[in-house]
């Protein structure tokens, strides 16, 4: 009995390994068909526009509000720490670098996974549960082209834009606290920032990060919806998975990307 249970454990371990590889394979084929298969984005520009609206524009409010607050908090905290070294004029530089390199791409991606990603999963899962995807297939329309591709592209386009908007409003929020409230000289807030922030190093790397995050988060969200069990529990489980997997993927990738970009190797 003992012996079989040990073998059984090994078997289950192997089983889960096979499952993981299988899901990875399926999701890659899924992505490949959706993006590179015949016919480009089904339904053309109109569908993409609609998705840009529901994925991008609808996430704008939460991104802007969070951006302002995070910028303000950063300025407040930074001011407290920096003023003990007498260099509170560097607060602009600190806010800008933190936002551009890290918080902009990462927090935007996390918020995006929660706001747009879960909605994408639920929407596609619901279409699957109500047989709308099957119905499309039988009408002779590839749901990967018609439903999945526009959503993928909308995510790829929206998230980097949202991340940049997040950083800008964050820096603006920081200047509001630091300059207007705490009395840092306006000129040194911006000049210190401009001296230390480089376009190719900081801004561009931040954008590259957000592009990678956009790819991963949207892919996970859309695949989870498409792959979910077509029941109410299946959809809610898939939605949870989207948020959890996407967040973990973003944080893990962020470390790798940061090490590649700013670590010295």
């Amino acid at each position: 009995m003992r012996k079989t249970s040990l073998i059984e454990k090994v078997r289950l371990f192997g089983r889960s390994g096979i499952d993981i590889v299988e899901v990875l394979g399926r999701s890659t084929i899924f992505l490949f068909h959706a993006l590179l298969g015949r016919g480009g984005i089904g339904g053309g520009f109109g569908l993409l526009l609609k998705q840009l609206h529901s994925v991008g524009v609808m996430s704008l409010v939460i991104i802007v509000v969070s951006g302002v607050f995070i910028g303000m908090v950063l300025a407040l905290q930074g001011f407290n720490i920096l003023s003990s070294y007498g260099s509170e004029q560097a607060v602009g530089q600190m806010v800008a670098l933190t936002l551009l390199r890290e918080l902009g791409p990462v927090v935007t991606a996390l918020l995006f996974a929660g706001r747009a990603g879960s909605a994408l999963t639920a929407e596609i899962g619901n279409m699957k549960a109500t047989e709308q995807l099957s119905s499309l297939e039988m009408i002779g329309v590839d749901p990967l082209k018609y439903i999945v591709a526009p959503r993928l592209w909308a995510g790829f386009i929206s998230l980097p834009l949202l991340a940049m908007i997040f950083s800008v409003v964050g820096i603006w929020g920081g200047s509001w606290v630091a300059v207007d409230w705490l009395g840092v000289y306006d000129g040194s807030y911006w000049a210190n920032m401009q001296n230390s922030v480089t376009f190719s190093g900081d801004v561009l790397n931040g954008i590259i990060k957000s592009i990678v995050f956009a790819f991963v988060v949207t892919w996970i969200a859309v695949f989870q919806g498409y792959d979910c069990e077509p029941t109410s529990e299946g959809i809610s489980r898939a939605t949870t998975k989207t948020v959890v997997y996407a967040s973990l993927a973003v944080l893990g990738l962020d470390f790798i990307l940061t090490a590649l970009m700013f670590g010295d190797f």
Binding site: H53, V168, I207
Partner: protein, 155 residues
């Protein structure tokens, strides 16, 4: 009708994104339209550059006139060679100008300050500043100070 609002919304969203990129480029990172067009290069050798980093600013009389673009070790003289990129507008530096590594505040960042000499000849693109003053290393300073007190006591 509904289509119109969607289109306007997306249009504004895309515009906001582009505007954000422009702001990041121009206002935040201070990228100018033609960054590398009107600069020239100078070299300076320091015995110790400790703490100086690439992108540190180069100032003259407190005004930023350029930045450090590269730092490497000269194999022959075992000194640190710093490449400076200076504004073309400041092209009238005498050859005996002094470059020194300074610190902003007590613990602030390191930067290079240039003070003018009196020669007629001017530094050109690619020439070297010979008169340099190295970074003040706190440990050395303390070491010297201690040594002085010790030798004073010995007397």
């Amino acid at each position: 009708m509904q289509n119109r609002t969607v289109e306007i919304g997306v249009g504004l969203f895309l515009l906001a994104g582009i505007l954000a990129l422009l702001l990041l480029a121009l206002r935040v990172s201070g990228l100018s339209a033609s960054p590398a067009a009107d600069t020239y290069k100078l070299y300076a050798y320091f015995d110790n550059i400790a703490g100086l980093t690439v992108r540190a600013k180069v100032t003259m009389a407190g005004v930023t006139i350029g930045k450090v673009t590269a730092i490497d070790l000269d194999r022959d003289s075992f000194t640190g060679r710093v490449t400076l990129q200076l504004d073309k507008k400041v092209d009238n530096l005498p050859t005996d100008s002094t470059a020194s590594i300074l610190t902003a505040g007590l613990l602030g960042e390191k930067y290079i300050g240039i003070s003018v000499g009196g020669e007629e000849a001017l530094l050109k693109d690619g020439s070297t500043i010979h008169d340099t003053q190295s970074s003040l290393v706190l440990e050395d300073l303390i070491g010297k100070f201690l040594l002085n007190t010790v030798s004073k006591d010995a007397k």
